[in-house]
Symmetry: D3
Subunit: 63 residues, 6 copies
């Protein structure tokens, strides 16, 4: 412990490396704990609703 | 906030639209908050256990 | 299954009844499943950050 | 209820059967409840960070 | 990793010890991993809805 | 979206401010998204098991 679950859109591997490295440094400093697990959840825009509309539909309206 | 995570089986996109729209309307009314995120998690029957049996095995017994 | 986790602020019991009843009706209709669990998580404004600021601090600025 | 979410690496179906069966037996005994849902989440090593490094990178260093 | 989140009702500490010990033994055996975190979430019956009704109301009907 | 859930031990409010501020800055930079929710979950050592033992018992052994 601690375990940090990041629910977000798709990310490329370089960004995943950066996200995990930097969030770890902060969490480890603030909690004063060495062992921290970070789980990245990549959600498709078809599975995320914001203010009642699927992200995939909101993005289409912006095209 | 609020964030609503819906753990369920696979859904087609029309049902996702309906689910997100209707759950948003309720949650927004009850919480009195406009910005609400809904995350739909589609779980394969191979990854869900009910009363000790995988859903995929329970469904086979019903065939 | 399905299990729906609602992460939000504190709610009074009447609103919890309404939230659970109405979200259940939608989810049960859309998934076509009778057994659905809804778990309400009440988060204190001290434990929620929005765009980098604790909710408790954002609310103070609005007073 | 209860609902148990297992965040872990990929598992083959035989192990999933075993995991769900055995965790159910314990949880049902201890909670004294019959209806228990277990959801297995299979996370790719690219999406898990341990102590600041992606699992996929940690595993490469061990080769 | 793995991290196991157990969403259930209140438990006394003896049962928590038993739950954590036994679930760990299974998960560690099946995953073949030593470091496993188990997080017990105790939910009040006022915050859990089953088939559209709060657990606290379902329990009253049984008295 | 994104939503980041931080499962950890108790934290004082100053540390919560720091955690939310710094994790937001990273996540916002990496995802390129402005609206990000962070939810801090404070777990009592009685509710966290590490390698089969409750944290509260592991801590007693260290005294």
């Amino acid at each position: 412990m601690p375990t940090i679950i990041v629910e977000g859109p798709k990310l490329d591997i370089e960004k995943k490396r950066e996200l995990v490295k930097e969030i770890y440094e902060i969490a480890s400093k603030i909690y004063g704990i060495e062992h921290i697990v970070i789980i990245i959840k990549e959600n498709s825009p078809e599975n995320v609703g914001i203010n009642g509309k699927l992200l995939i539909d909101r993005e289409k309206n912006l095209e």
